[in-house]
Symmetry: D3
Subunit: 239 residues, 6 copies
């Protein structure tokens, strides 16, 4: 049924490259099928104004799509002078999700900014960004410990994300662009390794989706995210 011969519950292959660039405190290239996102974590020793004096750190994120990451070229947001609503929505989602992975109190007066820049987009870029960014975040936290900026890592748990949907009437996992463009329902789910839910964002693109379909999609996501977190840990144990 799926153009790529995958079964409905089958996710795409994931490839994780740590230390992809030299300067960032955490730098991860994540490839999910043909989707490729570079996730760079930067540490600064200050916090945004609204947090000053509270002894809490902050984790934030920015998202961008290289103009030709997609099939046809998109206008460069810097040239347009504005990030689109879609971009703002995605980077808010990434940042919220990552904050769920960290004990901000234990982070102290530091901010970690994760830049997720999409080199190639074949569907699921926001989920790939979250999954990759979590690894870059861990590397940045490890760097902080190694530098003596923190006594121990304030990581609470790994998180990962996957998109699920209803495609030709069937719940499917990890949609590529061609599937996503035709899906009746599109849903992004962020979870922890123990199955706790962080974010769920689902939209009926055609008609509505039923309670049963929602449950089926949740189940697909649950399995896929478990596997993604295994991949994350495998990558993080190397070196």
């Amino acid at each position: 049924m799926r153009a790529t011969k995958r079964t409905p519950e089958q996710s795409r292959n994931v490839k994780i490259t740590r230390h992809y660039t030299d300067y960032a405190e955490g730098s991860v290239l994540i490839e999910v099928g043909n989707t490729k996102v570079l996730c760079n974590a930067s540490v600064t020793s200050s916090v945004p104004r609204f947090l000053r004096g509270q002894g809490k750190g902050w984790v934030t994120a920015e998202y961008g799509l290289l103009p030709r990451a997609t099939h046809s070229r998109n206008q460069r947001e810097a040239a347009r002078g504005q990030q689109s609503g879609r971009t703002l929505e995605i980077q808010r989602l990434i940042a919220r999700s990552l904050r769920a992975a960290v004990n901000l109190k234990a982070l102290g007066d530091h901010t970690i900014t994760i830049d997720c820049d999409v080199i190639q987009a074949d569907g699921g870029t926001r989920c790939a960004s979250i999954t990759g960014a979590c690894i870059a975040l861990v590397d940045a936290l490890r760097w902080m410990v190694a530098q003596g900026k923190l006594k121990k890592s304030p990581l609470k748990q790994m998180i990962a994300a996957v998109s699920v949907g209803i495609y030709k009437g069937t719940p499917v996992c990890d949609l590529d662009y061609a599937e996503d463009a035709k899906a009746e329902t599109d849903m992004n789910i962020v979870m922890t390794e123990t199955g706790g839910m962080i974010e769920i964002q689902g939209t009926a693109e055609v008609g509505t989706f039923s309670h049963e379909q929602l449950l089926a999609m949740l189940s697909l996501a649950n399995n896929s995210i478990k596997n993604l977190i295994i991949e994350q840990k495998k990558a993080l144990s190397a070196e």
Copy 2:
């Protein structure tokens, strides 16, 4: 448990005033507890560039918060020169939801723009906007039929929205601002009168939420939205 003595499953009172202003083709003031949103529907006889020549209409939405709709004053977005990410995210949600209520093919070469301006914000403004905007949309469609612009209304179904959440460990329905600010999980749900799901957006603000909590919240939303649609229909049958 709730500051306002409501039971967990109890929604706030809803008051709907149609024809609130004189010029818009649909104009509804919706009050959900202390939250007040003015929803004005405007009809124009053209479609956005990306739809031209396809014989399809369009429904879009914009959202704004009067600067002093909230407890302390927010900077005016027009003065700041930019809509915030939160605003863009909300108006994208409202517009997507409303498009699910209409047969765009049957709308022909028309655009309906729904402005949701929050006069007073006590939590749940995006859900109140959707619920009120759907009524303004119906009035605009009726006006189009009365004007001979359409033979019959392209309305597919009524939709409404409610926020649910986990507050002090308990799933609760229709959070006010004080509850929302402290909720562990916050979720907005848009559904049709027959229980079809249009949108689900849930975020864990503290920790995570479990599958069981998700089911409990969905159940609360389902009941509340059924009641909201009864209120919508009551309002629309008057006159």
Copy 3:
């Protein structure tokens, strides 16, 4: 002569609703005929940078038109990313006028911001804004006294505003939109209760206006503003 059967010197009915919203320190809905403006006064305990260290307070104003306040929809200024020249000009006028009502030295290190948001526009919105904003300002000053932020109200005098014009060759008072659109001359006048002039802004839209016509318009404005101030005081004495 006038479409609405008013005599040339006849102003429209005024309706003033105080405490229209719950959160602002002063909140007034003013209705002048079909023109409806919500005026919310917000108090903050700081002053703009250019006044720091001078022991003087500040009063400022912002003005906005809801997109469908008018017969056809206007683009939302926040979406456009810029306030129009007209908007900036109006809010500068409102703010200057209100500062004439207050002893800024006696206001101390506080800023009062008055948001005038037009719900429905049928001509004379800037004048209705000034007249309504002055009441919201008084309520905010009373609140400051009640809160112990000020010993006594620094109000110097009430001010109000009306538009006058030359319509079909005759000086008329308080033009509605239909008249304003066709008027040969359009003039906005802000005065105190004792007839002191604060602002006069007159424009010949067609041809020129004569000294005699100017005097006739001033006389109409003088009477109308006296009545407006009686209405303001009536509203302020209730509670």
Copy 4:
């Protein structure tokens, strides 16, 4: 009483240089005392969108202050990315005033844009702009006739402008910057050669101004503008 030894009714010397730059269809440097404004009129053979197909022309204006036209440097508006409210207000005034000088129907499908750029600012820059721009406008209209674009000049009348005010309790004419900064009332008046009024904009900076003071200021303006128009005509008759 006046720092510059002028009597209250005395205006500053005016110097008008036509053909100040080589490329503009009308180019006038006007000097009013130490205030110097370059007024360049540009003719284009099209009209703004809102006028298309109406067989009417348009006259518009833009205003700018060179950053060091003033005693201390102002931020460059182009660098700031926005024209200030003051700039927009002034250029709207200049444009409205100039349109009163021209029969737009007779102008045909042409737009005349007048750029008023202040080289040095010693008070009264908006009035000097209007007075100078009217001459540049006449030169542009003459050029259009010479080029065969128009059969005869659509000029209806000359217009000129002056600022008047209340300074140390006395009505005075043509305030320089030092006077303007301390004036109790500040008023800009635009009139025709026959005494018809085009614009009046008066503001009480301190206290209020009385009806008698208004009449005195109008009288000063009336005389001053008559003289300005004599100067304009003298300049235009040269060559």
Copy 5:
């Protein structure tokens, strides 16, 4: 003398990867030492407004630096709402240089846009962009020929660029970031394979540079660019 043990005339190693991404008509990752730039060429079948109807094509370029391409994080230009002066200057240089490589008349009604996005910046990013972009451009032109959009490639010549400078008093070739930050003179040179000069941009950062130093730098550039063009051709002959 050089931190990296290179001789003054020694350039860094160059690595060229064609078809780096899947969607662009030309896609090249160029690595010059630690500097890495992704150059994507996009073809569209239209030309900018100013060229319409002239039967000429256009080549343009955009440049961006990923926020953490550098040692410390730069603010994202899309978030800042503006491209910096440096960015605009660089992309103007890249585009001008590339247009020198193509016969625009023979390109017909097509635009080729080359996006140069810097993944990692260790000095010389604008020169690496030009050298890499020229290869992406050739691939895009080959694609156009293969697609039948052009009969033959309108390439006139290969171009490449290198930075040279005066570092510790000595003319050196292909500065890395550490050298560039301390160089007394910094110069970027774009040349053709036959030694024709396209662009020269040199700046004395400390003191001045002499005629003799200029000649020495030109000579270094000449040799380096010859080698770069050999590398370009080697890469293009593969496949």
Copy 6:
């Protein structure tokens, strides 16, 4: 060969008027042929954030073109809300060049901003700006000494600039607009009085330029700049 009968090596006449406006600490109108630029230097007693605490001063520049400085009107950059890439590039060049003329350490905690506003543009505006700005800079430094802000002038050397190019195959000096628009190569050179080079920016507009042509252009520039510096010194010795 040249339309204006000049020989290839002949520069245009230069006219320098110091103290052109009254308020700036240095104010120079420079006329190079028909090109006229007003250069105003403003002194402030602070430095930009990135220099604070380093005991170094700063020299910066801004550039603008009056809308009708050119043959046809350009859109006003302040109205457009953005400076063009060309403007940013030019003002960066002017500022870099001027900083080469001053010992920034000896300037202390002061910033000198030089505004170069083009009144009339007939080619070579960036070079005329640099040549004129250097004189305004000297006047501002003299003013600082006279005011006791500096013990002695931190001027290191005079600098001046000229454009050279290849026009109809021949190297020519100081191109006017008509020549510049058709030149095959366009080059701007900034030098000191002793022949030290500060900036060289050359672009092949058609084809390429050769090493020999570069040398010929450099020689023309060298002579022309020597003469410009004689003119600068003559102007500065007056008074």
